[in-house]
């Protein structure tokens, strides 16, 4: 029972719409009047009395304002309380109603939960990987600066970097990083290979990466001779040194040189993708500073305040052009600046956003299904609504109450959806390929939960509004009459049919997307890698420069290693090569074939590598012409090279490549050694199966000069073709290497089969996800179609009975009912095909070997969808045939 005050206020607000301001004025005026009379009674002059009375208030206007403010605040409080009270009432009523129809509630809630759960799970990942800014201060000001040669981004030389730093005004900081391998020895533990980075002293401060422990390098330490210090990565510090806080001041040997640990850098540094375990000062030597030819620097920069990427780009392009003539070799020409965020997540953005769009479709389909269910329920509740309306409930009130049912239903779906999302995110993290950055940070954080709430609220409006509007407008007379058949029923049917058409269209779009990806996946699987991937063991070795200073020692070491590996029982063939297929880590350089003018236009870009004899035999790459390297090709004998078919076609089209010469690496005397082609081999994919094979060039490892070995960091892959399972032979192969140098560990031990699988993993994951989403969409659409047809049968029982009584055969009845069900499906398929045709362009970057308008997919998917829809219509239609005409006519 409402409190007297409230009732009075409500009544008053109905009868006398006085504002708070008016009331305050009246109240204060009354007081002043009474006071004035009091003073007059005491004998004061009326004007004086009034003045005194007003004066007692101090600043009357201010008092008035204060009271008015408080009064209006109170009004707001009361309105809010009322609103909440009504909402709670509605919600309780809605819960009761929903409890009364458990089947409907369960199906709807589950449908919504699937939609909201899937969408939230995908969003959580999109947020973690793509949407969140990088964990650095002002991350949008950070950029990468690439040396760009003929459209390809590459690393930079020290001379170029120093020139940029000196001349450019676009950056507040410009810092270099160089990838370096180290052999780490601590205490008496065996040596291990670690990846590291050489960075300048201002590297960490420039990017805003803090230290977990200790301090970063000082400028003093960033000089040759004083640079025997090292900073550990947080991850490495935890895994290798157990997070020992006494690590500062300890010594470790890196590449046989003592370094003192001065700090541990926070895990933010891992974001830069280097995976580095140790960081040392870059300490440019004088030789490095002058070197404009070799360059392995990754350059990062922070834009100066107010400078845009475009402005920095134009300044740097101009600087690069001047450097072209000032510095030797064209290494310095061309500069490209890219925002760090773009570099880091760029390729994932489009993929993940497509997924988010796809899952949004699923949510939409789920909403449409629930809307359909609500419409069906609404029709059944026509009587109840009419009674309420007859009793005086305004349309607005009824509408609000129906909407709160939608909100409560969505709420239940949302809570369940969050639970689904929790498990979904875990599953996705487990199944996803390894290279997705920041994926491990995905989870149900605040932003994701907020998104789920938003999706729930939006869904409740999407699926609730149309049924609520329809249900709240019952045909009073028609519904109260027995049988309840008014014109509104037909209209409701049409809406439901349109909804089904929409579901079918959305589902079709999802399935077309999935179909295109599945076809791409199948075609990709069939791409010939160019070599035999089975039974090939591969591992990576890097010789520490301290032990293997001279060229002879490097050559001899690898020679012996390959010999030892070949001698292991079970090994059919073995070889060493600096670049292996599929890994995508090839070195590139430009060479001008002999006989052509020394003009950059004649330079051809080759992926080059050093190889021992036996590579082609081990990988089973066919030798199309000429021969493999052999014992003839050693230091001092004429330089020989082997090219692949792509190189031969590009460089010497329609000519025999054997015997043709290319000036190879510099021979230290200023000139270039001419190398003759002695063999042409088949194309083997360097960069995964999607990319076309580039021109490849093999140098004999026994002939390659020191400069090339230095560029390769004295490293090579060792390959071995085994008779049995290559993994099982790991120990023997490690032992073989150990016989040459016991301190040399193997790195990245995998079989070639595993490397191929890994390269296909991302594509498979995309396909899996999209197919799963398509499947869910299809299932939901089928359920929706079934529901509509089943409902139709129930509603038209009388009409069906009549027709059968008049002689219609079961066949005709079946056709009538199924026809009803399929009509919106056909519409949906037509619309869906049109939309899919337009939208599939978005998948262009993901498909392989098929066009985005692939006819096979665009025929197969609608056909499949049509069949499923047919089945979903036929099932309830069979109930129609079993209608007993007499009973139907009586109802």
């Amino acid at each position: 029972m409402p409190r007297p005050g409230t009732f009075g206020r409500q009544l008053r607000s109905l009868l006398w719409k006085a504002s708070v301001a008016d009331e305050v004025d009246a109240e204060l005026a009354f007081h002043v009047e009474m006071r004035t009379r009091e003073y007059i009674a005491r004998g004061l002059d009326p004007e004086l009395a009034r003045a005194k009375a007003v004066g007692r208030f101090g600043d009357l206007k201010r008092v008035n304002d204060t009271c008015r403010r408080i009064g209006e605040g109170r009004e707001r409080d009361m309105r809010r309380a009322e609103w909440i009270h009504e909402f709670v009432q509605d919600a309780r009523y809605a819960l009761r109603q929903l409890a009364r129809m458990p089947g409907f509630t369960a199906v709807s809630a589950l449908t919504l939960a699937i939609g909201i759960g899937a969408t939230t799970a995908i969003f959580s990942i999109v947020n973690a990987v793509v949407l969140r800014p990088l964990p650095f201060p002002e991350p949008d000001r950070l950029v990468r600066v690439y040396s760009n040669r003929r459209g390809a981004d590459g690393s930079s030389s020290a001379a170029a970097f120093l020139a940029w730093r000196e001349r450019s005004h676009s950056f507040s900081q410009l810092v270099p990083a160089e990838y370096r391998n180290f052999t780490l020895v601590t205490g008496d533990r065996p040596a291990e290979q670690v990846t590291g980075e050489r960075v300048s002293a201002d590297f960490f401060p420039a990017l805003g990466i803090g230290m977990r422990l200790g301090r970063p390098f000082s400028k003093d330490e960033d000089q040759p001779g004083r640079d025997n210090v090292v900073v550990l990565s947080e991850r490495f510090w935890k895994s290798r040194f157990n997070g020992d806080s006494a690590i500062i001041g300890r010594s470790v040997r890196l590449n046989a040189v003592e370094h003192v640990v001065i700090g541990v850098v926070s895990s933010k540094a891992d974001v830069l993708g280097a995976d580095a375990s140790v960081w040392v000062p870059i300490a440019f030597t004088a030789a490095e500073r002058a070197d404009s030819r070799k360059g392995y620097l990754d350059v990062f920069a922070r834009l100066a305040p107010g400078v845009s990427v475009a402005q920095a780009q134009s300044e740097m392009s101009a600087i690069a052009k001047r450097l072209e003539t000032e510095l030797e070799d064209n290494r310095a020409n061309g500069v490209r600046i890219a925002s760090l965020m773009e570099v880091y997540v760029g390729s994932y953005r489009s993929r993940l956003l497509i997924l988010l769009g796809a899952v949004g479709f699923v949510l939409l389909i789920a909403c449409v299904n629930v809307a359909n269910l609500l419409l069906a329920r609404g029709a059944a509740r026509g009587k109840e609504i009419s009674i309420r309306a007859a009793l005086g409930a305004g349309r607005g009130r009824v509408l609000r109450q129906l909407l709160s049912e939608s909100v409560v239903l969505a709420g239940i779906g949302g809570v369940l959806g969050l639970i689904f999302a929790f498990w979904g995110v875990r599953a996705l993290k487990g199944l996803a390929p390894n290279d997705v950055p920041r994926l491990d940070e995905a989870g149900l954080d605040l932003v994701t939960v907020a998104f789920a709430l938003g999706a729930t609220a939006l869904s409740s409006i999407v699926f609730g509004i149309v049924p609520a509007l329809r249900t709240a407008r019952p045909d009073l007379q028609g519904a109260l009459r027995e049988g309840g058949r008014g014109s509104s029923l037909v209209a409701r049917d049409r809406v439901r049919q349109l909804l089904v058409a929409a579901e079918v269209a959305l589902s079709l779009m999802l399935l077309v997307g999935a179909g295109l990806l599945i076809r791409s996946g199948i075609i990709l699987q069939r791409v010939e890698p160019g070599f035999d991937t089975a039974h090939v063991f591969s591992a990576w070795l890097a010789l520490p420069p301290a032990q293997y200073e001279s060229l002879e020692s490097v050559r001899a070491a690898y020679d012996r290693i390959v010999t030892e590996v070949r001698a292991v029982p079970g090994v059919q063939s073995a070889a060493g090569v600096t670049v292996i297929p599929i890994t995508g880590l090839s070195a590139q350089s430009n060479f001008i074939p002999e006989g052509r003018a020394d003009d950059p236009a004649n330079a051809i870009s080759f992926n080059f590598r050093l190889a021992t004899p036996g590579v082609f035999q081990t990988l089973r790459i066919p030798i199309k012409q000429g021969r493999d390297f052999d014992d003839r090709d050693v230091a001092g004998s004429p330089c020989v090279i082997i090219v692949n078919e792509a190189a031969a076609k590009t460089t010497w089209p329609n000519e025999n490549p054997i015997g043709k010469r290319i000036p190879g690496p510099r021979d230290g005397g200023g000139g270039r050694t001419p190398c003759s082609v002695v063999g042409v081999v088949g194309d083997a994919h360097d960069d995964g199966l999607r990319e076309a094979v580039r021109p490849q060039l093999y140098f004999a490892s026994a002939q390659a000069p020191g400069a090339l070995w230095f560029a390769m960091q004295r490293s090579m892959f060792i390959l071995a073709r085994t008779t049995g399972d290559p993994r099982a032979m790991t120990k023997q192969l490690q032992a073989a290497v150990a016989r040459v140098d016991p301190a040399l560990p193997m790195f990245d031990i995998r079989t070639m089969d595993e490397r191929i699988s890994a390269s296909l993993a991302t594509g498979k994951f995309n396909t899996l996800l999209l197919t799963a989403l398509g499947g869910i969409g299809l299932l939901l659409a089928a359920v929706g179609i079934y529901g509509v047809v089943a409902y139709f049968v129930t509603q038209r029982t009388g009409e069906i009975g009549l027709r059968m009584a008049l002689g219609a055969t079961p066949g005709r009845v079946l056709r009538l009912v199924v026809g009803q069900g399929m009509r919106p499906v056909v519409l949906g398929i037509v619309v869906g095909v049109g939309l899919a045709g337009a939208a599939s362009r978005l998948l262009a970057s993901l498909v392989f070997g098929v066009g985005t308008r692939d006819p096979l997919t665009f025929l197969a998917v609608p056909a499949m969808l049509g069949l499923v829809a047919l089945a979903a219509s036929v099932l309830p239609a069979r109930r129609a045939i079993r209608v007993d005409p007499t009973k139907a006519l009586q109802s």
Partner: protein, 109 residues
């Protein structure tokens, strides 16, 4: 000796509540009652009284209705709510404790 409202040590609320415990009154009547009962020791500043009334109304300690007044025109009459009564009890006890403590120090027997 008249004591201005601002010297009332924040007990204006309690005084208003106590006044209303004797029955509904409008703002002027509350002021007059306090003046009369305290033999004009307490002079209520209207500038503090009305904001206090509005504040307490918002907090739900008192409620108001517009009713007939002595002048024949409508006046806003305040009365105590259940919550207000509880608040009055609490503030009275609080005041007694405070006054008792101060008295023990300032007025030793």
């Amino acid at each position: 000796m008249a004591v201005a409202a601002k010297d009332l040590h924040g007990t204006l609320d309690a005084l208003i509540l106590k006044t209303l415990s004797w029955g509904p009154r409008h703002g002027y009547a509350i002021a007059r009652w306090l003046e009369d009962t305290s033999a004009d020791e307490l002079v209520i500043e209207e500038g503090s009284l009305y904001p206090a009334l509005y504040r307490m109304e918002r907090k739900g300690w008192i409620e108001a209705e517009w009713g007939e007044s002595e002048l024949g025109r409508k006046a806003k009459l305040y009365h105590l709510t259940t919550v207000g009564r509880k608040q009055l009890r609490a503030e009275t006890e609080e005041w007694a404790r405070f006054a008792g403590a101060v008295s023990r120090i300032l007025l030793p027997a």
